[in-house]
């Protein structure tokens, strides 16, 4: 549904306005009943700002009265709800933002009442957990902009993760491992591209085959070789944290942006580079033309097949980088099926980010947040079973895909083979 459609359909607008208003009121009421009434009066919640082990200049922590904050959040949600019902707010994004923000703040204040909760640590771990998701999403963006769906990202990441750790362990050089992972990612993507472009295999089927092959192959190698020779093959160490001098002393931002390992720096760099490449270079224009209307692009002399090959392979290399992150970027060893659906969550992040690099990165952060929230909440001993908290990223993915939060339009030729 486009905005133009909404504008010319007044009943629909009114219904949407009503729905959002009611949802906001309900969120306010829910916050009041579940969190507000369950918060003990007089308790305080401490939000830590300083990250242990960072070089940042220390600043005082944020201490708030728990119950008052929760009531305040309930009030804000209810106020926006009432305002929405009375007047209507144009931007759905803002409404969703209010819902999410009030809910999350109230929830955290309630969960950490009488305790301390490190806010910067939370955001930092969101970024860390978002990295593989963002790389998967970027892989999706670059290949789908040229109209090739790659659902095999999960399998590519698994194989790259294993390749990275094995090569790095054997050569005792993490950068060789990283290169190997990127290469194997490109190779698998090239295989996918060859199948779907040359043989016109169903793109989804080919991707699923890569996933099954990836799961089987890595598990095979893992149980056949890695388990017996852990020290030789599955013990690489991880990339060291590189601190940018001076910049890493800024409170909050310093440890977040300037004290990370190379994969995270590369991810942030990739987001910027891909945005510029896609929207401000001839290559980007050709890519988007091939994705929207391959026939027109072909008529104008663009080599449709070549563009698709290049993009899918570049995407595979990015997914390879994402795979490397799982092993040599974070834990230093390979475990079976360690990607745990991150490739697919990346695809959801891509859709939520409307096939834009920056959008995809931002939505990956949301998934990263959902993912790290469950870890933090387990530490805080929230009376919710940890298994339910672990479901959070998957449920968020499904909600995002419904398009309730704003419908995304894929490139027009996405998923269709091109015949001259």
């Amino acid at each position: 549904m486009t905005t133009a459609e909404i504008a010319i359909n007044p009943t629909r607008v009114r219904r949407a306005r009503l729905a959002y208003g009611i949802v906001l009121l309900a969120v306010g009421l829910f916050i009041f009943l579940t969190f507000g009434l369950n918060t003990q009066p007089g308790l305080q919640t401490t939000f830590g700002i300083n990250l242990a082990g960072s070089n940042a200049v220390p600043v005082p922590d944020l201490v708030v009265p728990a119950q008052l904050t929760v009531y305040l959040m309930a009030g804000i949600a209810a106020f926006f709800g009432a305002f929405q019902l009375a007047r209507g707010i144009k931007s759905t994004g803002a409404l969703v933002g209010v819902i999410a923000a009030t809910f999350v703040i109230a929830f955290l204040t309630w969960a950490a009442q009488g305790k301390s909760f490190n806010l910067t640590g939370m955001i930092n771990s969101s970024l860390v957990r978002a990295t593989p998701i963002a790389l998967a999403a970027l892989c999706g963006v670059i290949s789908e902009r040229s109209a090739v769906i790659n659902i095999g990202i999960e399998g590519i990441m698994l194989l790259a993760a294993q390749t990275a750790v094995v090569t790095a362990s054997l050569t005792d050089n993490l950068y060789v491992g990283l290169l190997a992972a990127i290469l194997i990612g490109g190779l698998l993507a090239a295989f996918h591209a060859y199948l779907v472009i040359r043989f016109k295999v169903d793109q989804i089927v080919s991707g699923v085959a890569i996933n099954i092959f990836g799961t089987g192959f890595t598990s095979f190698v893992s149980s056949r070789f890695l388990e017996k020779n852990t020290d030789l093959l599955n013990n690489s160490g991880v990339f060291p944290v590189i601190s940018v001098p001076l910049l890493d002393r800024i409170p909050v931002l310093g440890p977040l942006l300037f004290q990370n390992n190379i994969v995270i720096y590369l991810t942030i760099l990739l987001v910027v580079v891909m945005h510029i490449m896609l929207f401000y270079t001839p290559w980007g224009l050709r890519t988007r033309a091939v994705g929207e209307h391959p026939k027109a692009a072909d008529t104008l002399g663009v080599n449709v097949y070549l563009v698709r090959y290049v993009n899918v392979i570049l995407g595979g290399m990015i997914a390879g980088l994402g795979g490397a992150y799982f092993t040599i970027g974070s834990v230093g060893r390979f475990d079976e099926i360690m990607t745990a659906g991150k490739g697919f969550i990346g695809l959801a992040a891509m859709i939520f980010g409307k096939w834009n690099p920056i959008g995809a990165f931002t939505s990956s952060l949301i998934f990263g947040f959902a993912d790290s929230l469950q870890v933090k909440l387990q530490i805080l001993r929230v009376p919710i079973p940890s298994e339910f908290l672990l479901m959070a990223p998957y449920i968020v993915t499904m909600i995002v895909l419904t398009g309730v939060v704003g419908r995304a339009v894929p490139p027009a030729a996405d998923g269709q083979p091109y015949e001259k």
Binding site: L195, F199, D202, V205, I210, T215, G216, T397, P410
Partner: protein, 394 residues
């Protein structure tokens, strides 16, 4: 009806006469090529291929020497123990094939409607849990009520798990591939919680209690042999799915929606209803797979119960060309492979995951028959291809 049209109906129903050979050639060659490449992997991992594949054969069909001795014993003394031991591997293969038939039918049904159900894994698990729950929590019912009830519970659990992505697809255009996978992960987490909490049997292990005897699918042979009525049920269900797809109006609608949703819409068919119904039915079939495994074989559910059935099911549906008869054949093949691979692992030391590698390759070859035709220099034949999936939200 002209001759050409006749051929068309034949090819869309798949099985029959000369079309049969054509339909079997590519899958057979695909499996063969997969096994050959698998052999390379076995060599590369340092095992003996002949030893490994012989173990695979003995593990799936049985040891010829044991067969001979068993028969000799049976005819001379009337003692069946040796014979039963000889047919044990063969029956185990059929036992392994049983859930494959159900799960393969689940994915195949989805394909016929243009839906890609990767969620058979989660639906299988949920179905197993719900049927186990009915199996152990209700006591004092006669078997002829308790058993069907437990199977129905498995179907209902799976149907619910499949219906959610179906509805999201129909209503919001959310792609079922991603959603079914998310449902798989949610099912795993949910089962972790259930097996450690509400459904945990007394003791340390996170497993459900044993089901009541009245809920068990009866077995054909004395104890180590686990072949049960589930296998025949699976064959019957395969026939029902065939009948449903090709002999009923609803089946025709499903196939029309799968072949061309726009045309189906103009013909007045309800796309949304078909999507939801097919995903629910597919989920019910996968749920039955779980139920048959619990009620017929294990009698309890533990963690990692679904172990790859969902992904195997995709290979089965592709291999069987989404036709129930093809799925049954493919499921039997996989049953024998998997069952034999267990022995291959213990005797020749080849990890069972080799089968997954072979499966991945088989899927690629089936999905890209041109590769097989090119490898074996086959003449390319124009067969009407089933539409499997579509892009995001179309």
């Amino acid at each position: 009806m002209t001759e050409k049209d006749k051929n068309k109906t034949k090819s869309s129903e798949g099985i029959g006469g000369g079309a049969l050979r054509e339909a079997l050639r590519v899958p057979a060659l695909a499996v063969l090529t997969g096994l050959l490449i698998g052999a390379i992997a076995i060599v590369a991992s340092g095992s003996n291929v002949f030893e490994a594949y012989y173990a695979l054969f003995v593990g799936s069909f049985g040891d010829p020497v044991r067969f001979y001795n068993g028969f000799q014993q049976f005819f001379s003394t009337g003692e069946t123990a040796g014979l039963l031991r000889a047919i044990y591997p063969f029956t185990e293969s059929l036992v392994t094939a049983t859930p494959y038939i159900f799960a393969g039918l689940s994915v195949a049904l989805g394909f016929r409607c243009g839906l890609f159900n990767i969620g058979a894994e989660g639906q299988f698990f949920i179905g197993a849990l719900t049927s186990a729950f009915v199996g152990y929590s209700i006591t004092g019912l006669p078997a002829f009520i308790h058993l069907p009830l437990a199977i129905l519970a498995g179907m209902a659990g799976g149907a619910l798990w499949g219906m959610i992505p179906g509805y999201l697809k129909a209503r919001f255009g959310a792609h079922e591939v991603v959603n079914t996978i998310m449902m798989n992960w949610i099912a795993f987490r949910l089962s972790d919680w259930l097996l450690n909490g509400p459904m945990k049997a007394s003791g340390f292990r996170p497993v459900t209690p044993n089901i009541e005897h009245t809920a068990e699918l009866p077995r054909f042979f004395p104890d180590p042999l686990r072949l049960n009525w589930g296998f025949l049920l699976a064959l019957a269900v395969a026939y029902i799915v065939y009948w449903f797809l090709f002999k009923t109006t609803i089946g025709f609608e499903i196939r029309s929606v799968g072949a061309n949703p726009d045309a189906a819409k103009y013909a007045g068919m309800n796309i949304i209803r078909n999507f939801v119904m097919v995903m629910a039915l597919a989920g019910a079939l996968a749920g039955m797979a779980g139920a048959s495994q619990v009620l017929g074989v294990d009698h309890w559910v533990g963690q990692g119960f679904s172990a790859g059935y969902g992904f195997d099911a995709i290979a089965l549906a592709l291999l069987g060309k989404s036709h129930p008869a093809g799925v049954v054949l493919a499921a039997l093949l996989f049953g024998f492979l998997r069952s034999g691979a267990t022995r291959m692992q213990s005797i020749a030391g080849v990890p069972i995951d080799i089968i997954s590698i072979i499966q991945g390759l088989v899927i690629v070859f089936i999905a890209a028959p041109d590769i097989i035709r090119w490898l074996y220099r086959l003449k390319s034949v124009k067969v009407e291809e089933t539409v499997l999936t579509r892009g995001w939200g179309r």
